[in-house]
Symmetry: C2
Subunit: 326 residues, 2 copies
């Protein structure tokens, strides 16, 4: 079987392989200079993220389908965090000339699977040569007449909630790094193909959430951003509570030490859970669990995040895309 590389094909031939497996429904597109999407709300939600090989994924650890799935889902999660539903993705792909086109086919399959799972479409994009694989995705969304959920809306007395899971992606990455994937393939899968709780985002808006955001850089770091935006203190429950049980389950499954597992849950990114805040009287939607409380800052106290009432002193502070060795 002759190996076909990206550099052997022109853009039209690559597109002809890329598009057929993708849901591409829009009012218009592809085929013209831009797509036209319905925006019935009269506002449009928009977010963009880029995934770079060697930094955000490794081709020996993740298939093309994994990368396509993840690129879609992390942007869908950002749209859901605003309380919106995803109406379309624009996907740009930079590829080295010696990349096997089967990787591109596989990428399109994973991207298409994610779109079908969420009920959205790829409405535009671009293919280009590059030294390493680069995936740039923009997601658009519709608010359905609701106010967007912001990071700045949390109020003292609110419940702090999580929809989705935390720590499983970080635990899966740790297994890959230790060459121990076989110990818990489901965690490796959680790293390769995160499943954000995309329906919980709009549901939270309908249920009266006061604030919401996507957890992409770790719970403590992202909760710190929400605390700062809302000028409040978030006190998370770990010991004897849901977050602690998640950590204990990860420790039991993977054999890592308790504090390490706590770190996965509190500082691991990429599960794309939704961190929310709700007034204490709200009826929480299905899949939304309480993980703490919001309180006002005390005299001289800055907005911050506490774990069981005290600042976190355990491992990890979350992902920084530019930190040395990050």
């Amino acid at each position: 079987v002759r190996r076909v590389r990206v550099g052997d094909l022109d853009e039209a031939a690559l597109l002809a392989r890329f598009l057929p497996g993708l849901p591409t429904q829009a009012l218009l597109g592809p085929g013209d200079d831009a797509a036209v999407l319905a925006a019935p709300d009269g506002r449009v939600v928009a977010t963009a993220d880029v995934l770079v090989e060697h930094r955000d994924f490794r081709r020996d650890w993740s298939t093309g389908a994994d990368v396509g799935w993840k690129a879609a889902m992390q942007n869908v999660a950002d749209v859901a965090a605003m309380g919106a539903t995803c109406t379309g993705l624009l996907v740009s792909l930079g590829m080295p000339a010696d990349l096997d086109v089967s990787w591109v086919d596989d990428f399109a399959a994973g991207l298409g699977a994610a779109c079908r799972a969420v009920g959205t479409n790829v409405v535009g994009g671009d293919l280009s040569g590059a030294t390493e694989v680069v995936v740039a995705v923009t997601a658009l969304g519709d608010l359905g007449g609701r106010a967007p959920l912001l990071r700045s809306g949390a109020r003292a007395g609110d419940l702090v909630t999580v929809a989705g899971t935390l720590g499983r992606s970080a635990a899966g990455l740790d297994l890959l790094q230790r060459g121990a994937s076989a110990d818990a393939p489901e965690l490796v899968e959680a790293h390769r193909r995160p499943v954000p709780p995309w329906a919980a985002g709009p549901a939270a808006a309908l249920a009266g959430a006061s604030a919401q955001m996507d957890v992409s850089d770790g719970l403590l770091r992202d909760a710190g951003r929400l605390a700062a935006a809302s000028a409040v203190v978030l006190d998370l429950d770990l010991r004897g509570a849901l977050l602690g049980r998640w950590a204990a389950a990860l420790a039991a499954t993977t054999g890592v030490a308790g504090p390490t597992a706590d770190g996965f849950v509190l500082t691991g990114g990429e599960d794309h859970a939704l961190l929310g805040c709700f007034p204490p009287t709200a009826t929480l939607p299905p899949g939304v669990a309480v993980v703490g409380r919001v309180r006002a800052t005390g005299p001289g106290e800055r907005p911050r995040v506490l774990v069981d009432g005290v600042p976190w002193a355990g491992p990890g502070v979350g992902w920084d895309h530019f930190a040395p060795g990050g």
Copy 2:
């Protein structure tokens, strides 16, 4: 003066340098997981493009400001081609750790200048590490209640038009490649900082244009796409007409041979002119010039583009992002 590199800063510090010079007005953003833009038409136009260092630009030939300008403008041109006005850009930037942060400052300045020129805003994006500089832009637009202009709307008897210029970017690139920039700095500038006729796009829709597209891969190649989408023949006038005068002016300015200059005008990309078709009775908007006619395909004739009545046999066929040596 200590040289500061991208790798010396974290994402927050990079954003703090990046955002202040940019117009960022939106209903909401930046600061949350996604921006919210007005979409008063109830539809939104969306397009994405990626620029990769060494392929789409060279850092020794274009400054950061040039690249920021061009990345914005090529997407604005795609929105204009649909007959829409640009309502916002999402800009993702991948950067090597050893990139001087002054390049990033410069990029933001050029991006901001382009946004201010067009009257649009940067409403979102992402910063990431990468091996080479990669710029991924999504542009959103509003149709203002008009039908989008498509490639498929041209009809026999229509006028073929161009708004903007052709060949100047290709001539400028040729000067750079020959080390002869000083011969015509204004053409080098046209390559580094194209100025698409963004206002002519919506104006064409208002004036009753039947079809429109952005010329990014060269007039002949892009006109071929329009001909195919509309199932017509486009006959362009070169000798003794506007396109020929443009070529003659480029030959006179740069000293290249006549056929080479013809090739710049007919097959050079990146000026981001707008190729349009109008019914012969239409009143053309300012800046829109006639360059040919649309006719029906004859018996057995495929949709195609002719120059002065015959297929083009001169140099160049336009830019292919994956062609060997492209």
